[in-house]
Structures are given as C-alpha cells and as structure tokens.
Symmetry: C2
Subunit: 315 residues, 2 copies
C-alpha cells in the first residue's frame, strides 16, 4: 500500500505513534519536541534531518548554509516549546566523494549558528551514502512555567504570528525558476533563522505555540488537532512583505499561498487569551474556535483549509 493511499505523511505518523507510558516523559510524539523530566529539570529534545535535494539543493546552498540551516530548524523546534537550546548531536551522511573542504564549511555553519543560539555540539557520528543527510538532535532546557505546548489552545484565543511569512517559499520558487532579482527574498530561503527569541519575553502569556515549518495552514491545524479546537485565519491580516508579494506576482503565484502552505519561515505561531493580548507582541492572524476545522476568512467568506503543506509522500 502506498503512503499517499492512507493519507500521506501525517496519517503515517499518526499510524506509527503510540501513547507514551514512561513517567519521566512529560510530552512525547505530537509536539515540536519531547519533554523529559530529570530530577525536576525539564529537558526538551528534538531531531530533524535535512536531506540533499529535498531540504536543500547544493545548487544554491553553500555547505556553510546547510550547516546553519540544520541548527536553525532544530533551534526553532526547541524554541517553539519555550525552551532554550543548549546542546546538539550531529549525525552526518556524506557522499563517498565528499571533500574535506565541504565538511569544514558545513561544520563552520553548524558552529556559527550554534554559537548564535548558545548551542554546543557534543557528539554525533559520520557515515556515507548516496546523498548528503545532516541530522541534528537538539537538547534544550525549559522552566516549567514557560513551557508552551501545541495542545493548550483555548476557544476564544487570538492566533498571532511573530513576523512575516511566505519568504522562504518565495525564495525557493525564485531559485527553481532561475529568477535573477529579489536577492533578499532568496536569502530568506538559503539562510533561514530561528526566531523564538522574539517571543522569549512573554512566554508565560502564551497558551499554545508551534513554529512555522510547514506553512501557517498546516501549523495552525496542528495546534487545533492537538488542542481539540478549530480556528479561523483572517486572510487579510497574514503578514507578508511587499517584496514577497512582488516576487509572487512576478512568478505568477499568490503570495498568500506561500504564507499558508510554503513553510520554513520559522516564525512562531501562538495563541493568547483576550485577557493577555496586551502583554504580547506579534501580528494577530486569527482566532481559535470551539467548532473544529480550520477556516480561512477572505473577502467576506469563510472556506475550509486543510494541512496541504509540504507532504513528502504525496506525489
């Protein structure tokens, strides 16, 4: 049976996930990271792999940028729990013809982003394969009252994002279609940054949080599924930079689609009660509803949107 026949990647993950039994596990499968309790210290752990020609192309990524991205995506997952990234293990699959310079540059990138986030590389392993895979495990620490899970959104909460969306997807399309202009949009694709620090000052006022790795539609849907609620996203308030709108126009696409379904912007999406709205920063883009399903409100009409963010097994 093909993976797409059971509903794709998300359905497959649901199929293989089991309820966690260990007492030391505060949060298991189904959030950005797992949370473990060691003698009262809450430790956050996540792993994410970048595969050549899927998460990056060496046609437009320098090895250094690949290393940076591998740290940023994981730091973003850790940060989306309200945690502070601390340590990383790096598992590397190199092509047999890999050069020393390639590995040096890759590590330069890993360490550069690591230093920025206060993350030290404490271990890993290396092997060879047909394509480059950079898998990073990241460990963070979080204070109990700052822990932000996907499952804690409440009906009536406002949905906010920490910054502009759609840039990474626009950048990718510009590369794929070999457009010369829009260099700063392209940069947002090859040099993505974890942005959890934007929310670090008001974590206690956030109910649920996730980072935008698969697009606003997918990531809000994940919050809703885990919280057993629904949502309305206000199309007109989704923050998209002018240059991204212009790039989309030049490419014949709708910039809103980039924001909703593009992903890899690594902004944070979080829900906040009406009472706490004054204590947080960000762009309000929607509201959590009791009624399930995620709706898009646009031009006076509501239509249902689905998690059609990137699915590795859909085509």
């Amino acid at each position: 049976m093909k993976i797409k026949d059971i509903g794709g990647e998300f359905a497959l993950i649901k199929r293989i996930s089991k309820k966690i039994k260990s007492k030391g596990v505060k949060v298991g499968i189904g959030d950005d990271a797992a949370v473990l309790d060691f003698n009262g210290k809450l430790v956050v752990m996540t792993t994410d792999a970048l595969v050549e020609d899927d998460h990056f192309s060496l046609k437009w990524f320098s090895p250094e940028w690949v290393g940076m991205k591998a740290i940023e995506v994981n730091a973003s997952d850790v940060g989306a729990m309200g945690a502070k990234p601390k340590y990383a293990l790096v598992s590397l699959v190199l092509r047999r013809d890999a050069t020393v310079e390639f590995v040096d540059e890759l590590y330069k990138g890993l360490r550069k982003s690591g230093k920025k986030h206060g993350v030290e590389i404490i271990g890993g392993n290396m092997t060879h394969g047909k394509q480059v895979v950079v898998s990073v495990d990241m460990i963070g620490e979080v204070e109990r009252e700052k822990l932000c899970l996907r499952k804690d959104a409440k009906a009536g909460d406002f949905i906010l994002v920490s910054g502009y969306l759609g840039g990474s997807k626009a950048g990718l399309e510009l590369f794929l279609k070999k457009k010369r202009a829009f260099s700063s949009v392209k940069k947002s694709h090859v040099e993505p940054k974890a942005k959890y620090e934007k929310v670090s000052g008001f974590l206690k006022n956030i109910n649920a949080m996730i980072d935008v790795s698969d697009g606003l539609a997918s990531d809000v849907t994940r919050i809703c599924e885990q919280s057993k609620v629904g949502a309305v996203i206000y199309a007109d308030t989704v923050p998209i930079k002018g240059e991204v709108r212009r790039a989309a126009e030049c490419l014949g696409d709708d910039a809103l689609d980039y924001a909703l379904y593009g992903g890899e912007d690594f902004e944070l999406v979080y829900t906040v009660s009406e009472k706490n709205l004054g204590k947080v920063k960000g762009f309000v883009v929607g509201r959590i509803t009791k009624k399930k399903g995620v709706m898009l409100y646009q031009k006076g009409k509501e239509r249902k949107i689905t998690k059609k963010g990137f699915d590795h097994f859909s085509s």
Copy 2:
C-alpha cells in the same frame, strides 16, 4: 582535498571535534555517548544512523531487522557507558515509493528491540530521500559510580571481551558471496544484539569500556588513544566460535581478521585492574601497556596493528 588524503574518517572526526566548554557536559565527543548532568542526574545521549546499502542491505535484511538493528546499535553505545537505555527519537528517511507495510515492519522492529531494552520511542521525524536512512538518538541514565569511559584504562589493566567476535563480519561475507550454509552465522549479521547486560553486574570494577562496533583492533585503539596508553592483544585468546572459523575457512579468509577488523559484534571490550580481575566475567584478550601503540602478539612475535576497521571514506 579527499577525506582519505587526510587519513580517512577518524582523522576527519578529530579535525571537526572541539573541546567542550559547557559545564553541564561531563563527557563530549570521543566516547560512545555524551554525558550530561541535569540537576545531578547523569544522562547519556548518543546518535547512530543506519544507511541502506552501507549498514544494511534490503536484499538480506527484512524491514523489521533494520528497525531492530537501529535500536540495538544505539542501545549498545549507551550500555557501553555503563548506562541504562531509556528513550529513543527516530529520524527516518524513506524512499518516495516506500510502502506503508515497510514502515509498519520497520516500526515493529524498532518497538520489539525497544521493549527488550526498556526503551520508549518518544519522538522523531520523517522525510524522503534516495535511500533509506534510520537515525536513532538514544537517551539513557547512569549512576555516577557505574559510568564507564574510554579514557580510564590504566597501564597494567587486563583487556577483556564479553563474548565471541567475528560473527557479524563472517555473516556479511557469507551473504555477499551467496553461500547457502552457516545460517546461524548469517543470523548474527542480520540480527545483531546489544550485549551490555553481560557486564551490568560488575560495572564498578571496570576501568575503561567500549562496544565492538568497528572490530577489536579499532575499538582497543580508541580506548588507548583516549587513555593515552598502549595495548597488546593476544591473538590466540581472541574468542571466535568454531562455526565462524569454519565459515572463514570456507570463504578463504582468516577468522582472526573478522574479529580484529570486522566489527558490529556489539560485545563489550573493557579493561580491569589485576586486583579486580576476580570480580568480573569475560575473556581476557590482552593487556594495557604504558608504551603507546596497539600490538598483536601472535606465534611468539609482536606486530603493530592499526585501526583498519571499516572506514567509510577509505576507498
């Protein structure tokens, strides 16, 4: 510059390794696993990836066996620190044409070995690529007095192994050369088992320890390098099963080479002071020396042996 030009995989790992600065890190790069201190609880973390056609061939591995091996190799690394494996994160690269059945079977294997070792899968991620990669991060817990590092071998220590060596390599050669016989030897290749439980009763009497993942010669060399000592291995005492000797003969190989350079037997190699020798179990295979370098004592002569265990970038 090619990786083999700087001395291969081991030299490359040395090149990219840096001294760990964080206070919470008790052991960093250079051992089987990293050791972190969270509020006094010592937590062991390791990551190891299995790549299709390198660490397993789907010609002779069932998907279930691949899953089992992914857990066993990591449990072995955690166990080689004297720790008890507890949690795993699974990072999966699947081919785009992967079937649901393949993933189900792989997870069956992951959970089967997980259950055996008391390991729960608490997270992970999934993506696609040109070949299957199963990367597992494993977290364990260890009591301070049971922690066994590579760096604590002392001149005069006896070197012991927990069981027979060379079986996995013999099994691989039998598959590669399409030999029909020796099914139990082949089984040791496709169903490797972590064996750290063999030493769990006397961890406090062990000075240095490592698991045999790359062959006795390589793994003793690692202990020596980290401990700044040398070693003599007594060729005649290296434990090799009769069936492995017979398989080697049938293949025209030397069974001792399988034991020294084959790897993936996942027995433990450990050093014990003369005073504590009566308190431990295992086969004595050599002695730690003050003089650096690893020597093989065979037929009344000593010759130097090197880490020529499997190097991913040597050919």
